[in-house]
């Protein structure tokens, strides 16, 4: 069907009308409006709510940094980690944050390759969220090594002891996977920002802003001789990021799966971790985007209910995959006939951490099922409330995998419980402050929505727009 008929649906039969796609941008917004509105968020006076929010998140960030300083100066014993639970909240929080960081790249890369054009209005914020989540995640593995000043031993550089790393260790794979993921995500995000930074540069009125945005925009002019390399670079980055995003959480899961600990030593982990990461990541995207659109109401023309609806469907799908994985774990534990494997799962469900297990089951498997009903996918308040379950549930999942498994090892003499210290708790709360602070700075100083991509999905962006046949 040509665009010409799509613009005049009155000529169509009933069947054909159903084939006309809904516009991605509502209320016939023009290109000029998109630039004006998105840029005005950055250019306008700083709103009061922004200061209020920063007044909450900045102290939390400082608390997080202070506690990390306390940990470095005192020792890793300020956390509750101890035998038998050597990996506790630190790795739980690491996997939690890195999982959240998967939705951004999924939206920017996989939905780009599959030509899901609705992604254009959410990819920028989701990618930013990815970066900030990975920053929060990176704190934990870096700090839990104990003597942080020796963390450079992870890097393969020649040293006086002539010692080299064990490249067969999943922990070293993890270092490479997470640092590659962060670097590539920064490159992807910044590449996407260049044309929009040029928009901000061209609208600047003050010299300082013009200088800063001018330097950041790298001299972009929007010539087609630039666009053709730019689009190729973007396509290649999407192609590279797709296997990358799937590999990162797989490698994270190898930290567990390659061990011989019952409950960890399982081949289902990589796909199950990836599905869980997408599930939790989309929940966090919605957690952030719904309030942002409530504050900047005209954004509803760009991030429409249809977008939210689609994201809820992805949450429903990935949540069901996660639920399937939980059940399959139980089945395989039984079917393996391995008493330790069976005991591990018995203790998960009915042992000392039964509350964490059933919280996880409820939040991740039961609660998202409500998204089968369209009403709950399209009413934003409901969506926001419901996605808090995956947010919490994914934290419980990692806690269940790590703590319950270590708490009930092979021999009862090695059994024990984990109790978080106040440093554990406050550091974790502090990472939310760090995440919030970075996100607020992003909203204030960079375009929250990818302007040039949204313009490109408008009907008039088609060079054959308005022509009868093509």
């Amino acid at each position: 069907m040509s665009n010409a008929t799509a613009e005049h649906p009155e000529h169509l039969t009933e069947d054909e009308k159903q084939l006309v796609r809904k516009p991605l941008v509502l209320n016939n917004r023009t290109m000029g409006w998109i630039s004006d509105y998105i840029s005005s968020i950055v250019e306008g006076k700083t709103p009061t709510w922004w200061y209020v929010s920063m007044a909450i998140t900045v102290p939390l960030t400082l608390m997080c940094l202070a506690l990390l300083g306390y940990l470095i100066s005192t020792g890793v014993g300020v956390w509750g980690n101890n035998h038998p639970i050597g990996w506790a909240w630190d790795i739980t929080n690491f996997v939690f944050w890195i999982g959240i960081g998967h939705a951004g790249t999924l939206i920017s890369a996989i939905l780009f390759l599959t030509r899901q054009k609705w992604r254009t209005s959410i990819n920028r914020a989701a990618e930013a969220m990815t970066l900030f989540a990975v920053v929060c995640a990176g704190i934990y593995p870096a700090l839990h090594v104990g003597r942080v000043w020796m963390a450079w031993w992870l890097a393969p550089v020649p040293n006086a002891n002539a010692i080299w790393q064990n490249f067969r260790s999943p922990l070293l794979w993890d270092v490479f996977a997470v640092s590659t993921y962060f670097t590539v995500s920064v490159l992807f995000w910044y590449t996407g920002l260049i044309p929009d930074l040029a928009t901000l540069r061209d609208r600047c009125t003050t010299k300082i802003r013009k200088f800063i945005y001018g330097v950041l925009a790298l001299g972009w002019r929007g010539g087609n001789r630039q666009w053709r390399h730019y689009e190729m670079a973007y396509l290649i980055l999407a192609g590279l990021s797709t296997p990358l995003v799937l590999s990162v959480h797989s490698v994270v899961s190898f930290d567990f799966a390659t061990s011989v600990v019952p409950g960890w030593h399982t081949t289902i982990f990589p796909p199950y971790f990836v599905a869980g990461a997408i599930f939790g990541g989309f929940a966090m995207v919605l957690t952030i985007m719904i309030p942002a659109c409530a504050i900047y109401k005209p954004l509803h023309d760009l991030v429409t209910t249809d977008h939210v609806n689609k994201m809820c469907k992805i949450i429903l799908l990935t949540g069901s995959i996660v639920g399937y994985a939980y059940l399959m774990e139980l089945f395989v534990a039984w079917y393996s006939a391995n008493p330790y494997e069976r005991a591990a799962f018995w203790y998960r469900a009915f042992g000392p951490y039964w509350w964490a297990y059933w919280s996880m089951m409820f939040c991740n498997v039961v609660a998202p099922q409500i998204f089968w009903f369209k009403y709950f996918r399209t009413h934003l308040v409901w969506v926001w409330v419901i996605v808090q379950f995956p947010n919490a549930g994914m934290w419980f999942e990692r806690f269940v995998i790590i703590a319950t498994t270590l708490a009930r090892d092979f021999t009862p003499s090695a059994w024990g419980m984990f109790h978080p210290t106040w440093v554990d708790i406050c550091t974790f709360i502090g990472t939310f402050g760090l995440f919030g602070t970075l996100f607020l700075l992003f909203i204030r100083f960079l375009p929250m929505i990818c302007m040039f991509e949204v313009k490109a999905v408008l009907p008039e962006a088609d060079p054959h727009h308005g022509e009868a046949n093509h």
Binding site: I163, P195, T199, H229
Partner: protein, 186 residues
């Protein structure tokens, strides 16, 4: 005809404004057919099919990235086998350190392949685009600021062998361009 920039400086080219992607697309086809070589069209977003309308070939960036990826892969192979098999063989759980250990080396090979490919894609794109740069003759023209908002432009450079200010001005006017302007350097 208007002129911007320093009038005593050499002419960079002649530029014209268009109102929509469709007009720009058809103008590009005609400029291509007229045989110009040093010219470009400017738009707020990439226009689908513009490469064909301008007669441009596919970007060679993909080929560069292949070699970037190969570099990353070979770096990982050298690093992993070099250290684990020769410099410092570390026996863990009785596992070999020879060629059979390659499955355990695979994740880092993969990650470094991706990493160097991504760097090649971004920096290769910037270098081929002549970026970063702080200024450009086109920025002397105030109307050109709208190129990142909702306006479309064509510029034919003075380095083009078929360029003469007068004829290019008339040509762009015949294509439907408005605000035709001669752009000087600084």
């Amino acid at each position: 005809m208007e002129a911007v920039g320093n009038p005593t400086a050499p002419v960079y080219g002649v530029a014209a404004e268009f109102q929509c992607a469709r007009d720009l697309y058809h103008a590009a086809e005609k400029i291509r057919d007229a045989g110009f070589s040093k010219w470009d069209v400017f738009s707020p977003f990439p226009i689908h099919g513009m490469d064909e309308a301008m007669g441009l070939k596919r970007s060679i960036l993909g080929k560069l990235v292949f070699f970037g990826g190969l570099t990353g892969f070979l770096t990982a192979v050298t690093m992993e086998f070099g250290t684990s098999s020769f410099l410092y063989p570390l026996i863990v759980a009785g596992k070999p350190t020879n060629l059979y250990t390659v499955p355990a080396f695979f994740p880092i090979m993969f990650e470094l392949t991706i990493l160097i490919s991504a760097f090649t894609a971004v920096f290769g794109m910037l270098i081929m685009n002549g970026l970063p740069r702080l200024n450009h003759q086109l920025f002397n023209w105030d109307r050109f600021k709208k190129v990142t908002e909702d306006k479309f432009f064509v510029a034919i450079e003075s380095e083009d062998p078929k360029f003469s200010t007068r004829s290019v001005q008339d040509f762009l006017e015949s294509l439907g361009g408005t605000n035709i302007t001669t752009i000087h350097g600084d």
